[in-house]
Symmetry: D2
Subunit: 307 residues, 4 copies
């Protein structure tokens, strides 16, 4: 958190049919529906999160990610980062307070990969769901489905990932936790963090800009990953791969698709990062093992199915 | 255990290179090497087993299963079953005491699927490995690799599975725990048990006789399955599929191959069976989900890669 | 299952207040309420059980166990065992079909420890709860609380445990899986099984007859034991000890009390047994470790709090 | 990490007999011995740590903690913090580079609780043990015993915890993740963090200064906690309590003692923290549940057995 960026705050995802999407994100994944706004967008949160929401679903004609937002420490930091983005040469867009219900003003920039990123300092804090802040129980009763515990990160595809990495590092204070490097030494994937997590956002090189690979949610245990896989099968949800382990970050994972074709991940575990850790390097020629540690080959969907 | 057959006693597997096979079965899977006989066969056991051995490896030109053996209650039962096999029309072969070191005489018959099955009543009892029978600790220190805890069952491919099922049921007292039934009502797979386990042996219909699909070993937990998968990757062992869950029996599993191409399974969990349980039925048209519960499709290897 | 006794069929437990008891057994432990009879008794089952019920609660002035019942293979076995009990010198009592709704006639005898045991051959089969017998899913959605998966065994205290063991062994075909032996070689505890489980019923020596130590229910995993412990705390349920492991059987366990003071256990794991396994012996002087493997001392409640 | 303090770097513990201590910390807990210095001190590390060591054992006449050290971002930060400590009124002591082998110069201050704390910016980086930084496997083979994965935190007892909290907050940038508050609103325990962990150091109010409650090490899973408990029993190691869950932080834990009487913890799980999280509050009158979530009562050792 060198420059005051704290964590992923939320992701806004486009879905083709809101009711089907809610069966998926709320009833299957276990996110909690907290509000619908006058544009018809639905806000959800995971139970361990103290802020009001971390996922916004917007009905649209095509799936994908509208934007990913990071929460910063306070308004001074937000102003500072805005100035630095501008100084760095980014165009920034102002999103007024209240555009998302309960969220303060956001500063938006477009990364060189083509994705929209927002920074914000304030969001209504409603506390962990179903748990008191005094003598809190270990977990709330009444969670549904996979009981996802937090929105963790996004993996995004686009061009110019080196420039994007430098921008995130130099302006926003992200650190390079892991990378995939081709034989010529060029980075083809970067896993970036502002905290102790193995990644808060990751980018994979791809000629087409602004593509969405997946939004990822944290589960407590490998057994929870198994039960998530069982639920995927019971609900006839489209699975991509898993349960398995990633080589990158060593997290234990499943990929699957929402009814609109957006990929989701639930995972547990994963390495931790500190600022003095050298980046972990995976060789591009071993990308199969880097992504799917057990199978050691990519399924063709991993590189081609994007929204 | 209606007719005195207790459990799978051992399996004799052909391997192309003994030292490579031992790196696999002993160092990777964690079976304990107990003896080499004057034919060069190597005997291994899993740590929870009280008998001297449960796996015999024999170096040969082609992989596959020589025979699978069941332990019966005592010599009276062995004689009774021998007489009933003959009365049923089976040719039986006598394998003398000591042909396998520490094992009493075996009565061999060939099932209609073409596989050799042996019955025996006596095997040297060496007790659980590394654990006293007085005040026993929870588990022994010094286990290797996957720490397989017992030889559990075999899955075999061949013709005439209905006749084989009837023979195992009527003569040996096996029960049908689970079955796969085609749209005309014919059984294409039978999972047979003599105890509370979901299967002690299973057969899948296949025109070619005497084919070996896999020998399976029990692990304690889903976390042990994950670590087994990790070890498969670390040792560059050929993986087939997993970690995943089966629909049939609901066990949690990985399939992989020994260096000779024989398939192995390690798994945990799985349903229990009692004699008054109706067989569980899976529809042949849903065979994908029956075998691989999460992916819900068979990989092509499942039906074609046999030894 | 040498003599045709299959498994524990049910236990009838006395409770002081039925509604409080149901909050405990149904809402906390996750048993499914299946019927109330015209005596006001409430029938419950665990989800993996195929029979209609496995627990009967009866409101009474003092807590404890009315009887424990075993299911036998069929009516011929029931008649045979009845005759053998009589020949052995036991008085047997006839409990007519329908005394418990859906249960066939029961043959009751009083063990030398003073406990009532019933044998029965028939009980209405309603199948696993929430799961089809064709293409069954891995587990049903909608389970409550601890999601107990089966009634597993009872531990009972009383005098004459040697005579009781001999009766259970010689007439009913139970095997001695584990025992606690005093320095003179006398058995002070016996763990008896008719299947592969480490125990279907267990007895500990105690001068007072017909005392109930606990009824035990199976959970799938050590993580389920943790969540059970969490629920015990969240619901202010009286805990006895755990999570921990037993030395005897090596199961992983918690003991706690129902609102009437009857002790319950939920546990997972545990050793398996076959008829050719020598009994496991624990020394009475190491009873602390035998019962509570981690603490290696008994809490005073273990020997004194009985119903 | 508001002020540049990254994490707990190491703890130096006094032990009565070095060889016994090594059997405990190295063979039982699974720390890796990395060096012995000319004072006879032994250096150990946990396998996921990139720095050379995280535990130093020193043979002495009485057990306890010599000092706990935090690693800061770099030498500029170290100088800045040193100046701020002095400005705050702390006496600081210089510990020269090399006093601990491989560790840069340390700045020592005594907290109002009486404990020695060191800050340092540089320590030899030897990388994760047994794992490459290129294409790293999921975990190293050859770990011993509990396979502790990192030194996590210390819990210390002493007076003036409010002053200590303010010093750690205002000068070192720690945040208050959790607290125990008495009925008058006074803090009797503070759990402080500089990252996402629930605590990097914690203090409990106690009249006697400079007392050591425990040093804690992280395990990956609840199953690892079970196996740690098993090993404690197998090695006749003195156990304090567990396996259980804490209310505070919700980690899953065991407490036990080294041969010198110093308490250790191994644990998994636990809540995460961000700077905008309000502190979690436990009421002092519910301290039993706050510490031991399942039993809901303190054992007397928790408040009285200190070194």
């Amino acid at each position: 958190m060198r420059n005051g960026v704290m964590r992923p705050g939320h992701v806004q995802i486009r879905v083709l049919d809101m009711e089907e999407a809610l069966e998926h994100y709320r009833d299957l994944m276990g996110l909690i529906e907290v509000e619908r706004d006058n544009q018809g967008r639905v806000y959800l949160k995971a139970w361990t999160e103290v802020d009001k929401f971390s996922v916004v679903l917007r009905e649209a004609d095509k799936p994908g990610m509208d934007h990913m937002a990071f929460k910063v420490l306070n308004n001074e930091v937000l102003e500072q980062l805005e100035a630095e983005l501008v100084a760095y040469g980014c165009e920034v867009e102002q999103i007024p307070e209240g555009e998302l219900s309960g969220c303060g003003r956001r500063v938006r920039f477009v990364a060189p990969t083509g994705h929209n990123f927002d920074l914000f300092a304030e969001k209504e804090q409603t506390g962990k769901w179903g748990i008191s802040s005094v003598n809190p129980e270990a977990w709330p009763r009444g969670l549904k489905g996979m009981k996802a515990s937090r929105f963790d990160h996004c993996l995004l595809y686009g061009p110019n990932i080196e420039e994007t990495y430098v921008l995130f590092r130099d302006v926003l204070g992200f650190e390079l936790a892991e990378q995939v490097v081709d034989p010529e030494g060029g980075r083809v994937a970067v896993f970036l963090t502002v905290g102790m997590k193995a990644h808060d956002v990751a980018f994979i090189d791809c000629p087409e800009p602004n593509k969405f690979h997946h939004a990822s949610f944290f589960l407590e245990t490998w057994e929870a990953v198994l039960r998530a896989a069982d639920l995927i099968s019971m609900t006839n949800t489209s699975i991509d791969i898993g349960p398995t382990r990633h080589g990158l970050t060593h997290g234990q994972t499943i990929y699957f698709f929402d009814p609109s074709g957006n990929r989701n991940e639930v995972f547990c575990g994963g390495d931790y990062h500190y600022p003095d850790h050298e980046p972990i390097t995976w060789k591009a020629e071993d990308l199969g093992k880097a992504i799917f540690y057990h199978d050691r080959v990519l399924n063709e969907r991993f590189l081609s199915v994007l929204t």
